[in-house]
Structure formats: C-alpha cells, structure tokens
Amino acid sequence: MIQIFLDTLADLARSSGLAALQWQNAVMILISFVFMYLAIKKGFEPLLLLPIAFGMLLTNLPLTEMYHPELWNIDEGAELDFGRILHEGGLIDYLYIGVKLQIYPALIFLGIGCMTDFAPLIANPKSFLLGAAAQAGIFLTFIGAAALGFNANEAGSIAIIGGADGPTSIYVSSKLLNAGGYEVEVGTIALAAYTYMALVPLIQPPIMRALTTKKERLVRMEQLRTVSKTEKIIFPIAVTVIIALLVPSAAPLVGMLMLGNLFKESGCVDRLSKTAQNELMNIITIFLGISVGATTVASKIISVAFLKVILLGVVAFAVGSASGVLFAKLMYLVTGGKVNPLIGSAGVSAVPMAARVSQKVGAEEDPTNFLLMHAMGPNVAGVIGSAVAAGVLLSIIPH
C-alpha cells in the first residue's frame, strides 16, 4: 500500500500544475496581475479588465482544463466542431461559444442602447460628421498594420481598436480571426482596446491642445434645442433601417443598439429595458470577460506582434482623436466660429469619457463653458460610426 500511495503521490506531483508550468505561463500570470492592478487600483475599465485579467490567469495555470485553445484553432476553411467542444471543453470553452457566435457583443449593445440618450445628437445632427471623421483612426491604422506586415484579417482586427469601442472590437476580431494561425487573437485585441479606452483622458488632451488655438477652445456653443419624445422614438428605428440598408453587416450591432434605445425611449417596456441594461448585461459581461481573457495564450502576448499591436493601438486612438478635432476645426471655419473644435475628439466613442474630456479641456480655458452636452452628440455618433466601420471591414475582408 505504501508503494501505491507513493506512486499516487508521485503521479499527483507529476500531474500538478507546478510541474507543467513553463516560463511563458509564469510571465503571463504576472502580466495578468498587472492588469488586475490597473483595473482595481487605477480604475482601468474594471468591469471588463478585471474578468479579462482573471481569465488570463486561469488559462495560464497549467492543466486546469478550463480552456482549450486547440478546440478553437481550426484550419482555414474548416469548421468548428461544436460536438467536440461540448465533449472535451471546459467551463471557459462553453462560455467562449457566446463570443465565437457573436452573441455577447450584440447583447451588450442592447444594454448600451437602453442606457444611451441620443437627444444631443438629434438636436445637433451635424455631430454625425465628427463621429464619422474620428473613424479615420480605424482606417489609417489599417494602413499601418499592413505596413508592419500583418495580413488583412489581422490588420482589420487591430484597426478596429481605433473605434474605441470594446464590444465592436470583440465582434469584429472574433469574426475575422475565425481560423487559427494568426499572430493576434481576440483576447489581445480586447486587452488593448479596453486599456486604451481607459487611457483616453491621458491620450486625448495633449492632442486636443496641440491642434486648437485658445480662441477656438473658448468658443461657446448655442443652446441645444429640446427634442420631443416622438423624435427620440423614431430615431432608433430610422437609424436601423438606413444603416442596415447601406451596410447590412453592421445590422447586428446597430440593430441591437437601436432596439435597446427603442426600449428606453418608448417608455412602455421599462421592465425589459431595466433587465437588458443591468442583469443581462452584467451576466454577459462576466461571461465575455472571463472567456475573452482566456484566449490570451502566452505565445500571442510575449511576441513582437503584440508590441506592434500596442503601438498601433495608441496610433489608432491618437489619429482618431486628431481627425475628430481637425474635422471640428473645419466645421468651426465653415460655421463662422459656432463649433468648438474640442468636441471633435469625442467622436471616437469611449462614451461618455471622451465627451467628459472635451468638457474638461474646455473648462480649463473657461470654467463656465459647458461643452459636455455638445460633445455627447459626436460621442454617441462615434458608437454608430464605429459599428458602421465594423460592418465595412467585415464585408470587405474575407473570413
């Protein structure tokens, strides 16, 4: 019996995680600690980054069998074998199905729609132009990624980080990076996207100050008109129809965002709206975070490719913000000084932080200048804009 006992213990020692731990895993675990620190102590988008970092931790603890990359890294042209995933998968594989089938980002957009007020955009529809201009960050980053040697699917996934919109980034990258063998994966895209979104208050102000004059920053904008309830109800329906007819592949994101907004504005389905923006979104966020985090295997993070992603990500945010500000300067000129260029940077999305940055930089010059509501227009337009850009990428790049 002692022999069996010793054999069993030896077996267990051999089958322990410590015996199987490689240095890459150890590094990844340390990186996950860094992201947990950023999420908890620095307040970097903790709702997503904390579950993502914990998923990263779990997946790098060897032999836990919670996530199996080999189930998901299929050859190009092959199909996922969902039967095998159910048989051989672990908890995180099951949760990841909702990412792979694009269910989670769409449902999160439903909840965001229930929380978004489009009134500032309806009151000042010209803001849409700023929401469009800021998407230049996406497309110029696409050029950069191509220049750095990424292929089209990788470049599209990296570029969408510039949309400054977490669910959209996950939606696009999980679709474009369907087969295995790419140098980046959903988890790294999500990490970069949420990290840079958290850094918006640091990245944007210097760009905004550099591109504007003091006179421009002092512009006081006209009071926004009141928007009627009926306009708010018609808006989400009209946006759905127009965008889906133009770019059908943007329909899942835009459609769910607008359904959520219709729940909110109709005022007659409050119980659905409340659940969609709270419990449903929280459940999806937990599942999304853990499983997206688990895709960050060591070989994709401890690599030159990841450094390039980090670099391209900050370029994307900077270019997007700058495009927004520059386009707003153009509008300042055309309107004879009625538009404060500081609201342009809010076009990148990152609701409502980018709008608050506009308010804050404006208030530095004139504490009584109230730009927030004017910046909310481009801000929510940016969400629609990046969803459209996502649709374009998905319809152009084969996957």
Partner: protein, 120 residues
C-alpha cells in the same frame, strides 16, 4: 497585403462611413423639419401666447432632462454651475429639479405596477 487593396479598403471604408452618417443627418433633419412643421401648424391654430415669444430662453429649464443617466456627481455640479450661470444672464433663477437617475427609479416602481397588470 497589396497596397492597392489596402488603399481600397481605407477609401471605401471612409466613404461609406461618411455616406452612412450623412444619410442619418439628412434623415434627422427631415424628421426635425416635419416636427417643426407640425408644431408650427399647431401654433397657428392656437392664439399666440405672449410668454412664448422668446423661444430660445424658455427651453433652458428643461436642459437637465438631457443629462445622460451616467453622470456622476462631479458632472452634476458642473451642470448646476452652468445652469446657474445661464440663469443669471437671463435674469431668471433656475435650478436642477430632477436628474434622470431618480426619475427612472420612481417611474420604474410605478411602471412595474402598471405593466404587471398586462404582461404576457
């Protein structure tokens, strides 16, 4: 990647994004015009109300209603200050009467009561 392909992606991407959002601008403007027209027609039918002569000043007190649910207290303070400033310039005393957050809750309680009467 082929540089021409990259260029095509970028240009068509930008063009379509702008095209889509410009279509939305047109749609919203049309909608706004229609509603303005409807209001205008209604106003003509009513006798002109002397108090409503200055349409740009009146809507201000309802400004706080456009505050998104997500504003934290810092922002609320900013808004309060802004409104106070506006109020002084127009010679009226304005104050924040309600922030959406609160409305949602209390109206939710009422709505639950109402909706439960005919749910499924």
């Amino acid at each position: 990647m082929n540089p021409e392909y990259v260029g095509a992606v970028v240009i068509s991407g930008l063009v379509i994004v702008f095209l889509g959002l410009i279509l939305l601008i047109i749609a919203v403007n049309v909608m706004g015009a229609v509603f303005k027209g409807i209001k205008g027609m209604r106003k003509k039918q009513k006798p002109a109300d002397p108090v409503q002569d200055s349409p740009r000043v009146i809507p201000m007190p309802s400004e706080p209603l456009v505050i998104p649910q997500s504003e934290d207290e810092e922002i609320i303070a900013v808004i309060a200050a802004a409104i106070a400033a506006i109020g002084e310039s127009t010679g009226k005393r304005l104050s924040i009467k309600s922030i959406r957050q609160k409305n949602t809750r209390s109206s939710w309680a009422g709505a639950a009561l109402h909706e439960n009467t005919r749910p499924f």
